[in-house]
C-alpha cells in the first residue's frame, strides 16, 4: 500500500472488523438489509439494526427465519432496484447455497459480507476459508480482506464494482472470523459527503427493474431454448473478465479519494527481487509477511503474493509473479476433500514443471499458526529445493502436536 495525499477528510476510529463493515454499509446508504444471526457475523447486522433504529441509516431491515430467506429477500429487493446488503458465515452461507446461484445468474447487484468460519462436524466457530471458497463457482465476485481497514474499504468498493454496468454480479467480502470480525483496529473512515460524491445512489433501472405496475416481465422462467443457459454463462464469464478492469478502476479512484491504494486483485510483498514466492489470502497474510521479514534477515530471498480477489481469478497477475521464481509455496486455510488446498489447486496449474511447488494445509478449524511456524515451513521448503533441486508436493498437512 503506497500512500498519497487523500482528497477526503477522514476520521480515525477504532472498530472491530464486523463494525467496520457495518460502517461501510451505512456510508453506502443501503436501502434494504436482511440477515439471520450467525456467529461470527452477528455483530455486523446487530450494529446495522442499531444504526437504523437511531436514524443514522434510512433503510428497511427485514428479519427473516433463515439465511435462505435473507438472501432471497435482498435478491428480490435488488431485482426491484434497491441497494441491498446481507451478511453471513459458515453454515448460514451453506443454507443460502441455492440462492447464491440465483442471485449471481440473475445478475442483480448485491453485496454480502462473509465472515469466514469452519464447517462442522466437529462443531467449530473458528476461522477457516472453506466456506467462502465453496462460493467460487457460483458467479459471485469474491474478495478476502487482510485487516479491518481493508474489510471496510472492500465493502464500500464492493457496491461500486457490483453495480457497474460492465459487471452486474454480486460481490462477497470475506473477513476472517474472530481474527478480523472481533478484533478492534484503528481505521480511517471518509466522510458521508465524500462517499456520496464517489458512490451515487444505485441506478434502479440497471440491469432491469421489476416494479408493480411496470412492464410485465418474468425472470428465471423456463427459456424457450435450453441453449440460453449456455449463453448466459458465457455472458457471466465475460463480465468476470471485465470485472478485473472495473476493480482496478474502482480502486484507482478510491485510492485518490482515501490515499489507500491496493493491488487491486493481488498484492506482492517483497517480491521484486525474490526467488521464492509464498501465496496466501486473508488475515494471516500479515503473519506470513512478518515471517518473510525474518527470513529476509537470515538471507532467504522470498516474498508474499497475497490474493485479494479469488474471483475473478487473477490468473495473469499470478503467472506474472511466478515467472522466474524457483519455488512457490501456497498456504491454504481450507480443504477441498479429495483434492487438497483450494488455492494450491488453482495455482498449481500456473506453475511450470521446472519450478518447485508446495501446497500447505494449515490453520484448518482455526488453530493459530504463528510467524515462527510459517517461517519454519517456508525455510524447510526453500532449503529442500536448494538441496535436492525440484520439489513437488501438492499436499503438506501442517498439524501441530496436541496435548491429550
Amino acid at each position: 500500500m503506497s500512500s498519497q495525499v487523500p482528497l477526503a477528510k477522514q476520521v480515525r476510529k477504532v472498530l472491530v472488523g464486523d463494525h467496520a463493515v457495518a460502517e461501510a454499509v451505512r456510508l453506502a446508504k443501503v436501502n434494504i438489509v436482511s440477515a439471520y444471526p450467525i456467529t461470527p457475523q452477528t455483530l455486523i447486522v446487530e450494529r446495522i439494526s442499531e444504526m437504523i433504529e437511531r436514524g443514522e441509516l434510512r433503510a428497511d431491515y427485514v428479519r427473516v427465519e433463515s439465511e435462505f430467506a435473507a438472501l432471497a429477500t435482498v435478491y428480490g429487493a435488488a431485482a426491484g432496484g434497491a441497494r441491498a446488503f446481507t451478511a453471513t458465515s459458515s453454515h448460514g452461507l451453506f443454507y443460502m447455497y441455492e440462492m447464491l446461484w440465483w442471485a449471481a445468474a440473475s445478475r442483480v447487484p448485491l453485496v454480502m459480507a462473509v465472515v469466514t468460519r469452519a464447517l462442522g462436524p466437529p462443531w467449530n466457530i473458528h476461522d477457516e476459508h472453506t466456506d467462502i471458497l465453496a462460493m467460487r463457482d457460483s458467479g459471485w465476485i469474491i474478495g478476502m480482506a487482510q485487516n479491518v481497514q481493508e474489510a471496510f474499504d472492500m465493502t464500500l468498493t464492493a457496491f461500486k464494482i457490483s453495480e457497474d454496468e460492465r459487471v452486474l454480479l454480486p460481490v462477497a467480502v470475506g473477513l476472517d472470523g474472530f481474527i478480523l470480525s472481533h478484533t478492534a483496529e484503528p481505521l480511517d473512515v471518509p466522510s458521508q459527503e465524500d462517499v456520496d460524491a464517489w458512490l451515487p445512489p444505485r441506478n434502479p433501472r440497471i440491469p432491469y427493474v421489476i416494479e408493480p405496475g411496470g412492464e410485465a416481465i418474468t425472470m428465471g422462467n423456463l427459456p424457450g431454448n435450453d441453449v440460453y443457459h449456455a449463453i448466459l454463462k458465457k455472458y457471466m464469464d465475460e463480465s468476470m473478465e471485465s470485472a478485473k478492469k472495473v476493480i482496478a478502476e474502482v480502486y484507482d479512484e478510491y485510492g485518490k479519494l482515501t490515499g489507500r491504494n491496493y493491488g487491486p486483485l493481488t498484492e506482492c510483498y517483497r517480491c521484486s527481487d525474490a526467488k521464492y514466492l509464498a501465496v496466501s489470502m486473508g488475515a494471516w497474510s500479515g503473519d506470513i509477511m512478518n515471517a518473510i521479514d525474518r527470513l529476509r534477515n537470515e538471507g532467504y530471498s522470498i516474498g508474499l503474493l497475497r490474493i485479494r480477489y479469488v474471483r475473478p481469478f487473477p490468473e495473469e497477475d499470478i503467472s506474472g509473479w511466478i515467472n522466474g521464481m524457483r519455488g512457490i509455496i501456497v498456504f491454504d486455510r481450507d480443504y477441498s476433500a479429495g483434492m487438497g488446498g483450494v488455492l494450491a489447486g488453482e495455482i498449481n496449474g500456473l506453475v511450470p514443471n521446472n519450478v518447485s511447488f508446495e501446497g500447505v494445509l494449515a490453520g484448518l478449524g482455526g488453530f493459530d499458526v504463528s510467524a515462527d511456524e510459517f517461517k519454519a515451513i517456508m525455510r524447510d521448503f526453500v532449503d529442500k529445493t536448494e538441496r535436492e533441486g525440484l520439489v513437488r508436493i501438492r499436499k503438506y498437512w501442517y498439524i501441530p502436536k496436541i496435548e491429550r
Binding site: R166, L168, P207, I217, P223, Y235
Partner: protein, 91 residues
C-alpha cells in the same frame, strides 16, 4: 450492446403461453369450478401462481387446463369453496 442490455434480452422474458410451461401428463389433481356456488369474486384469478385463470368480462372464471399445474391454491383461497380438486382421469 451493454451488458445490461444483453442481460435484459436473454434473462428476462415476457409472460406468455409457451411450450415450456405447458402441463404434460403429470398433473395429479384438476381444479373444477362449481359455477352454481361461484360468486365471481376473482380471488382465484388473483392467487393462481401460474396466471392460468381468466377472469372474463362477465366476471366468471375459466381455468386453462393446458397450463394449470394442479397446485390447488385456487381451491384453497376460494372463500365459498367453489373449487374442488378432482383426481385426474376421474372427471
Amino acid at each position: 450492446m451493454s451488458v445490461a442490455e444483453r442481460i435484459r434480452g436473454s434473462l428476462l422474458s415476457k409472460p406468455a403461453e409457451g411450450a415450456g410451461g405447458r402441463t404434460g401428463t403429470w398433473r395429479v389433481y384438476r381444479p373444477i369450478v362449481n359455477y352454481s356456488k361461484c360468486t365471481k369474486c376473482g380471488i382465484c384469478w388473483l392467487y393462481c401462481p401460474e396466471n392460468v385463470i381468466d377472469w372474463l368480462e362477465d366476471k366468471s372464471v375459466r381455468i386453462n387446463y393446458d397450463y394449470c399445474k394442479g397446485c390447488g391454491i385456487c381451491a384453497d383461497v376460494c372463500p365459498v369453496k367453489a373449487i374442488d380438486m378432482v383426481k385426474e382421469g376421474v372427471v
